[in-house]
Subunit: 414 residues, 2 copies
Amino acid sequence: MMKKIAGGVTFARGFRAADCAAGIKYRNRTDMAMIACDVPCAAAGVFTTNVVKAAPVRWDMDVVRKKGKAQAVVVNAGIANAATGAEGLRLCRETAEAAGRLLGIAPELVLVGSTGVIGPVIPLDRISDGIAQMVPKLSATPEAGTAASRAIMTTDTVNKEFAVEFELPAADGAGNVTVRLGGMSKGSGMIHPNMSTMLGYVTTDCAIAPALLDKALRTVAADTFNMISVDGDTSTNDTLLVLSSGLAGNAEITEENESYLIFRDALESVCRDLAIRMAGDGEGATRLMEMQVIHADTKENARLLARSVVASSLVKAMVYGKDANCGRILCAMGYAGPFFDPDRVDLFLQGKSETLCFCRDGRVLPFDEEKALAIMSEDAIRFLADMKMGDQEATAWGCDLTYDYVKINGDYRS
Amino acid sequence: MMKKIAGGVTFARGFRAADCAAGIKYRNRTDMAMIACDVPCAAAGVFTTNVVKAAPVRWDMDVVRKKGKAQAVVVNAGIANAATGAEGLRLCRETAEAAGRLLGIAPELVLVGSTGVIGPVIPLDRISDGIAQMVPKLSATPEAGTAASRAIMTTDTVNKEFAVEFELPAADGAGNVTVRLGGMSKGSGMIHPNMSTMLGYVTTDCAIAPALLDKALRTVAADTFNMISVDGDTSTNDTLLVLSSGLAGNAEITEENESYLIFRDALESVCRDLAIRMAGDGEGATRLMEMQVIHADTKENARLLARSVVASSLVKAMVYGKDANCGRILCAMGYAGPFFDPDRVDLFLQGKSETLCFCRDGRVLPFDEEKALAIMSEDAIRFLADMKMGDQEATAWGCDLTYDYVKINGDYRS
């Protein structure tokens, strides 16, 4: 049985976190976070598919792919360290060296992450000062994890963290042990499928072989972080990392057995929760939008159709306006890429207490406008499309498009 | 020498137009237009790539592809006749029959077009009444063409028409004759590459073989109508049609000779002008944005890179805010699809009187903020990216993302 916990990156055994105000861009708030583990961890990551990759993404890809091991993460908000050339990469190395020195670990075990404005170079002294502030206050308390999740926010309005615990067979064969897994993420703008949207960090004490950790992460990311969209812009910095300390005492997972599936479910649960919170907290958003596609011919087509709808500016604007102009959903599926028979599609608007069918066999139906307005006024808007083609399904999450999105992004740098 | 003319669909010999207020959706304004030619025309068209194609798109594809001939076009604004099933297709046929009867031509020579809300069915009696109003007042005057271009507007703020004339060798071999070509278009929302954005109608009196008319239209559409984006939504109704009456008296163009190239240039000139006006008149837009990509490796990659930038919500919001947050341009090229070396790209902001380089070899440079603000405050914003890979180039056009876009689309149906 998986149990949900009010926790984050410090929930799993071995992990500590810290935050500080390093003055990188913001005044009067924290803007750096650190996660460190007592032992070297198996590490896996998925990264932005953008051709223009920020320096920290290049650094992390190198660490994760070459070694599959890491022991600490240093993250800053405010400046993305993207489009900064060789100087940006040098800064990553110097950051890892500074953290490694104070933590007593090799720099190659230090992952780095940045989010914020593209272009400027982060002053090294601020980063070094920040690291020096954080190392002494690293703590395994839930509060330290929460503080870290706050420090990496940019235009986010709320911090995002989530944790679960579950049982796996003990290493010594004597019954079960409790395994912990928790994470934090940030992301509000420049969010779109095709990568691990913005920054996400997951820690666990589950003992699992690096190759299976990597496989579980890729599988899970495809249906969680990669199924949300705020604005269709795939960032230069997107990073989702998972570190496992192996300190839970479970029998190490070395094959795709039942334990692997339990672990993967737990990872999916945390990633889905973090992803949905990012979608709902999209820049300027007032409401979460969910688009479920059922009976598609292939899994990938189900994903493409669902993502196209949550990414559509017209659908997003209509959710903001509570206007059930449902032809736009059909239209957005139509340009998603996959072929389907438009004359077979059924579309539904799913409220908390009732469901409205507003399109049957590709034909938009007259519907009760008052009922539609009532459902469109709920906190989360849920659409469902029945493609009547096969047995595959997928769900995507997004948010509405509002005046505030325009405002935030018309003047982001100031 | 090509000469620009203040004209539209009635400029070419043989074409007449009319408008009327049919009360399809709007009150107190015209909402139907008709173009008719004195003789049957060669006809070519490009249509939306959306899987969900509106009934009039299906009708027109059938007419153009089966016969390559047409003699009249009937267009309505207010309701798109999309997602209307068999009833929508029946309406197209009945529209063509009603127009054909009054014009004394076969229904298979009548093209139809619709733009507006997806879902509702247009009442046939309003369409029939509108046709009965328009046929008697068909006129070859410029005013009739302008009135037609006004009647097909939806959220457009200005009507769009443009014409040119040029010389081609006469059919009788005695020197040159003047050939005319003019067009009108509408489109403001649901506008995105991959089709002939929204509705565009071009008429010409040039004598040209149908196959070459089709080829010229496809070539031209790829660099004009398909290079604009307002909101990334590819409509269900996009249609670009060209009709040639052949009444100019030129020697019929039957091969890709110099006359063909002159004709194609004229067609491109009209289509480019109409496309740019659509981009600049995007829903809620305050300014036109132009993105030119030079020295790309292939033409298609140049197009993809340029379109990705004008379609980016973040770039669009930054143009609205006059904020030269130029890393977003690099980011939008990065997720466009084509591979390139981010460390070689130069980016420029081109003002009327000076050009600012804000990224050199993939590295964002410090720049004069005041100068940038001055350029970003001009009526049209022009960006240029030098990929340093080859000799291909492309230009895309878009507009800024504003509060008004959200407002218009949050409540479009009312």
